[in-house]
Every structure is written in C-alpha cells, then in structure tokens.
C-alpha cells in the first residue's frame, strides 16, 4: 500500500517539476526570441568579462566532486568608460549609441536546493539596478524600458530620484507606487511597477532608474556596463562592418550582433531540449517501472485479501452455519464477509497512507534522483538563466507534498481491492450448507 501511494506521488510531483521546467524554458525562449527579432539592428557592446563567477565552498567532506557541492555565484562588475560611446557614435553607419549601467544590489538572497546527495546553497544578488538613458526619443525608438506597467508610470525624460520596480520585487518589499525604497543608502521613490513577461528571465528582478542616478549612487561616475549600438539598417554587411570596427578599436568590449544572438538562442534551445528530453525519458522509464511495481503491488494486495478471507471463512464455518440456522440469508452472509474484507483493506489503506506520506518523499527521491539533479546541472548555463533556478527548487520541494487526490485514489483502490479480494470467499461462505457448517469443528 505504501509503495502504491508513494510511487504515483513521486511521479506526479516529478511530472509537475518537468512541466514547470518546460514552462520556464518556453517563456525564456520566447522572450529571447521576441527581443532578438525586434532588435535586428542592435549590436551589443558590453564589458567583456561581466559574468558570474562560481565559488565552491571548500572543506565540505562527504560531497563527491560535482554539482552537489555548496557553491555561490558572484557577479564580477567590470565597467567601461562612458566616453567610448561618443567615439563609437562617430563610426560610419551607426545611428545611435545607448549606454546602460548594470549594478548588483547590495542585498543578496540565498536559495537552498535539496538533492538526494545533500542540500546546497546558492547565493546571488537580490536584484540588478539598471541605469538607462532617459532620452525620450531613445525610450520610444528602442523600447529599452519594460512596457507592461501594472501600476504607476514608466520612467520618462528628466526623471530623477525615482525607480521603476518589478512586481516580484515590490511584493518582496511590500511597497506600492509612491513608497520610498533605499538603494545604496539613498532614498528613491517608486514611480511605477512592471510585470516581467518571462518569469524565469533575468529581467524579472530588475530595478530601472536614470543612468546618472545609478552612476552617482553606486559610485560609478563615468562608468557604463554596455552600449547598445544601433545601425542605420539591418543589412548584415553593414552590421558586420560596424562590429568589426568596434572589435578592432576596443578589444575590451564583447560584441554581439543579431546573428550571434540568433546562434546563441539556437544553442540554448538545443541545450534545453536535450535536458528536457533526458528528463522526460527518465520520467517515462521510471513510470514504466513504477507501473509494473504498482500492478504487482495491486495483485499482491488482492491476493493477500483473497487468502485472508478464504482462511477466515474456513475458520468461521461453524459461525456461518449458526448465522444461516438463525435465519441469515445467503445475501446477508455474503455482504457481511464482503464488508469485512473491505474494512480490512481500508484499514490497511489508512496504515499505508501514513507510511506512504512519510516514505514517499524519501522513496521517490531515491527512485527518481535525476529530476533533482536539474538544480545542479543548471549551473552550466546559469549565467544566462540564473533565475530559472527558483522554479526548479520549488518543483523539487513539491516532491515532499502528498497530493490529496492520491490519498483519495488510494482509499478508492483499497476499497475496490478489498471488495474484489473477498468476493469469492464471501460467495463461498454464503453457499455453505448450514447443516454441514454446523457439524464443522
């Protein structure tokens, strides 16, 4: 019974995990696609080494080398000089250069993920401050600000001392439009709240403000993180030409064009598809095994009930004879024994559910370890999709919760098996001749 309950519970939780993953991936991919397609003329020039560095915590014996070790990702902030932008703007074919500064928040958040090999903690900045150039034509032409405003207003030209906050951050802080928030020791007013389209995307936890505000408050005057360079048209020869010029003049910049991003997207998609396929095939294999195990358990359960009831009927032959002699009909006797078998099975079901709810998470984490490993393997491409992780963490946690539907199902199965297993013994009891039964000792 315990097995019967725990296996479907594990499978359902893991199905949910896979579904969550798929949803996350799909959202991320579609957001990326949209961004890439609307910005065909864009050449991104960012400080080359802006990336996350992984720090493994030493001195954790018992952990095999690999992804289950405790580790932390830290973003190394590398900036470039603002004036490079003015120089790039003079290159032939360049229409506009839009500077950005991205600074990690001082606050960090850590997420603990469980896997069968132990838990590990990942710590990362709570959010990213993005300073944008609040020039009305730039804002309009290149849609550099989120458009899905849920309350308040977007940022507009000349705004200072105000921020545009993501919905999940505002919920985290419990603030609404008009409230003050403190950033790097300075007070800012929340002017608007936006909802990020892609739940798992890095944009989900970004706070937008005027670039000069961001530079001042984070002590980065004259620094920027990247330039968005827009070409006059999207012909690939022009874009390649501009990219080559920039790369030659500023080797410290990492330049990505529309085609680069497209290739990137394809790689990412492929990687995800592979991961998902792996997960799905693992799941379906496990399901096959589990289905077999459930069938065996079901067969064993009804057989046990069958033999127990057969034995009971034999043991109590005389009692049956007495019942019939004092006027119990065949149907009375049969229903009595059916009821008994069902009750036994139901009690076994209750015990099974108790054992199952304790054992299911443990059992399924051993039976289905691959799903939990997603949290670990995620590290490989986390620099792009770091915030996909919470989704996975919650999916893994879901394994620990027993679905009430499963419990109901288990009760139903228990009743059914009890009735089924005691059908023949009860029928035999009912058919007993009272005279012979009375003689039985």
């Amino acid at each position: 019974m315990a097995i019967m309950i725990s296996i479907p519970a594990g499978i359902m939780a893991n199905q949910e995990a896979t579904q969550n993953l798929t949803e996350n991936y799909n959202n991320t991919i579609s957001a990326m696609e949209e961004q890439i397609n609307t910005t065909a003329t864009l050449i991104e020039c960012s400080a080359a080494s802006t990336q996350f560095n992984r720090t493994d915590f030493p001195g954790s014996p018992g952990f095999p080398s690999g992804s289950a070790q405790p580790f932390r990702f830290e973003r190394e902030e590398v900036y470039i000089n603002e004036t490079i932008g003015d120089e790039i703007a003079t290159i032939e074919g360049v229409k506009d250069v839009v500077p950005f500064i991205e600074v990690s928040s001082e606050e960090t958040t850590s997420e603990t993920m469980n896997s069968p090999r132990g838990s590990f903690t990942m710590s990362r900045p709570l959010y990213t401050i993005t300073g944008v150039c609040l020039n009305s034509t730039v804002i309009e032409d290149y849609s550099i600000l989120p458009t899905n405003i849920t309350s308040g207003n977007p940022l507009s030209e000349g705004d200072s001392g105000v921020v545009l906050m993501s919905l999940n951050l505002s919920e985290y802080y419990g603030v609404v439009v008009g409230d003050e928030v403190e950033i790097y020791g300075e007070s800012f007013t929340v002017v608007g709240i936006y909802n990020s389209a892609a739940q798992g995307f890095t944009g989900a936890r970004t706070l937008y403000m005027n670039i000069t505000d961001a530079q001042t408050v984070t002590d980065n005057i004259g620094n920027v993180s990247r330039f968005d360079v827009y070409a006059e048209n999207s012909t690939s020869t022009l874009i390649t030409k501009i990219a080559t010029v920039i790369e030659a003049a500023y080797p410290e910049l990492s330049v990505t064009t529309y085609e680069d991003r497209l290739a990137n997207l394809e790689n990412t998609q492929e990687m995800y598809t592979q991961t998902l396929n792996n997960a799905e095939s693992t799941l379906s294999q496990t399901q096959t095994v589990a289905t077999q195990e459930i069938l065996i358990a079901v067969a064993a359960t009804s057989l046990i009930i069958f033999f127990v009831m057969l034995y009971t009927v034999r043991e109590r032959t005389k009692e049956i004879g007495v019942l019939k002699a004092i006027g119990f009909s065949n149907w009375n006797v049969m229903s009595q024994f059916m009821l008994e078998g069902t009750l036994i099975s139901l009690m076994a079901g209750v015990v099974g559910i108790v054992i199952g709810s304790i054992g299911a998470p443990i059992l399924s984490s051993y039976l289905l370890p691959h799903i939990s490993l997603f949290g670990g393997s995620q590290g490989r491409f986390q620099s792009d999709f770091g915030s996909v992780n919470p989704g996975i963490a919650s999916a893994v946690v879901a394994t620990n919760v027993l679905d009430p539907q499963i419990i109901l199902l288990a009760f139903g199965v228990a009743v059914l098996l009890g009735a089924l297993g005691s059908l023949y013994p009860a029928w035999r009891a009912a058919r007993t001749s009272p005279m012979e039964a009375l003689r039985y000792e």
């Binding site: 005389k318 009692e319 007495v322 019942l323 019939k324 002699a325 004092i326 006027g327 119990f328 009909s329 065949n330 009375n332 009272p434 005279m435 009375l438």
Partner: protein, 261 residues
C-alpha cells in the same frame, strides 16, 4: 390447543456414503400440536439430529413432506428457506453457538437483524427475553464471562427472538453437567407453560427426555410405536402429587412434604 404446528408425512432420508446408501430416516410420521413439549429419544446414530435438521429446514428429506405452521417446507425453494428459519423456527444447539464477539443482549438481537423492528424495539425485546431466561444481570457479558448454563439460556432467548412457531433443541443439555442440564430442561418446561411455546427436544439422556410432556423414541431411523407420557407438568397439574399442595414450577422438592418431585 389441538392445532397442528408441525407434521411430517412418511419422512425418508437417504444419504450416499462412498457409493453405499445409508437410510438415516424411514417413514417417520410425527404430529406436534401447538403448546406441545415433546422429547425425541434415541441412541447416537439413530437419526435424531437428521430428523431435527429436516424439521428446521436445514436439510431436505429424500421423500415425504414436512408441514410447518401450515406450510409444506419441502416445497419451498432454497432462496425462501431463510425466512422460515428466521420466523418459524428457533434453534437451540448442544454447543450453544453464541457469537463470541457479541455480548449476551447482542446475541439475542442477532436473529432480529433484517426484520422490520427498530433498534430500540430489538433492544426492548432482547431485554424481555433475557429477563424471561433469568439473565437480566448478564446483558453486557460476552460468552467467556458466562457459565455454560448461562450461555445456553442466552441461546434459548436467541431462539425465541422472532417469536417462532416451534423451538427445536438438539441435545440442549449435552454439554452441561446434570444439575445445569436439569435447570435448562426446567426452563424449557417453564417457557412451554408460561409462554405456550411449542418445543421439540432431541436427546439421548432418558432423564432429560422424561421431563417432557410426550416422549418419542427413534431407533435406526424409525420412530417406535410406543410413546410415553413424560413428567412435564401442565399448568393445571402444578400441585404436589404426594400432598396435593400447590407448588412452584422451579421446585425440585415439595416445600410442604419434602418429597422429591
């Protein structure tokens, strides 16, 4: 009082034992009137229990018929027999056969399961019956806390539950010591007089059999022609045969003259 409750006509029962035919009963004709207290005596193997099973619808005769309370039960289909067992017959067994997991009053209520009586009515009836057999104090006791005699009293109360036309007792004193056995047969006699219950007792104990009103004898499946009058006292005869004084039914000795009754 001359209404027939039970009547058998040319009752025959033939068993097949390993290809050999055994005639357990042959040409048995019995007539039981309403209010009779009859004992059927015979050595073991004489067909007593077979006869009783036939009378109580537990077994079917090979030939002949059994008419119980005006119904030819040999013609009743198998599916309808339980109703006759439930409402027309009350069985008392040698081994009492109480349900060990039920207490005294629940055992008495058991035959009333599936009748139209409500829970309260069943409880009331069971209480009355336990009082009738002198076990009012033992209602909540289970089998293992009752003496053998008390268990048989509960079994008698159970047999009376649906107010049957006849009580069939198969060696009701067979598992009891002689003192308790006499108490039980006296209880049956009392029920016969007070309630007018028709009773047929099967026994091989001649002393017990002699306590009935009529004694029949069965030997080798045949009912003997001789029939004896038992010592069972009818209500009008509740006087001491020695001194003529009124006596109580339960008395073993006459309270006046001290003679054994």
């Amino acid at each position: 009082m001359s209404e027939l409750v039970l009547e058998t006509e040319k009752l025959d029962k033939v068993y097949k034992l390993g290809g050999r035919q055994v005639r357990a009963l042959s040409d048995v004709n019995i007539q039981v009137k309403k209010g009779d207290f009859i004992s059927i005596m015979g050595p073991s193997g004489s067909g007593k229990t077979t006869l009783l099973n036939m009378l109580g619808c537990l077994d079917k005769p090979t030939y002949g018929k059994v008419i119980l309370d005006g119904v030819n039960i040999t013609k009743v289909p198998e599916k309808g027999l339980f109703k006759i067992r439930k409402y027309k017959v009350g069985f008392v067994f040698q081994t009492f056969n109480l349900m060990p997991y039920l207490n005294a009053i629940e055992n008495v209520e058991l035959p009333m399961e599936g009748t139209k009586k409500s829970g309260d009515e069943k409880r009331k009836r069971a209480r009355e019956l336990l009082k009738l057999v002198g076990l009012s104090e033992r209602e909540e006791h289970r089998q293992h806390r009752l003496s053998a005699g008390e268990q048989q009293r509960v079994a008698i109360a159970r047999a009376l539950a649906n107010n049957p036309a006849i009580i069939l007792a198969d060696e009701p004193t067979g598992n009891l010591d002689s003192k308790t056995g006499h108490e039980i047969i006296r209880l049956l006699g009392k029920l016969n007089i007070d309630q007018g219950t028709t009773i047929v007792v099967v026994t091989h104990d001649s002393l017990i059999a002699s306590r009935a009103g009529r004694m029949l004898f069965l030997n080798d499946g045949k009912l003997l022609a001789k029939e004896k009058q038992g010592t069972h006292l009818l209500k009008r005869e509740l006087t001491c045969p020695n001194c003529g004084r009124e006596i109580q039914l339960d008395d073993t000795f006459c309270p006046r003259c001290g003679k054994k009754l």
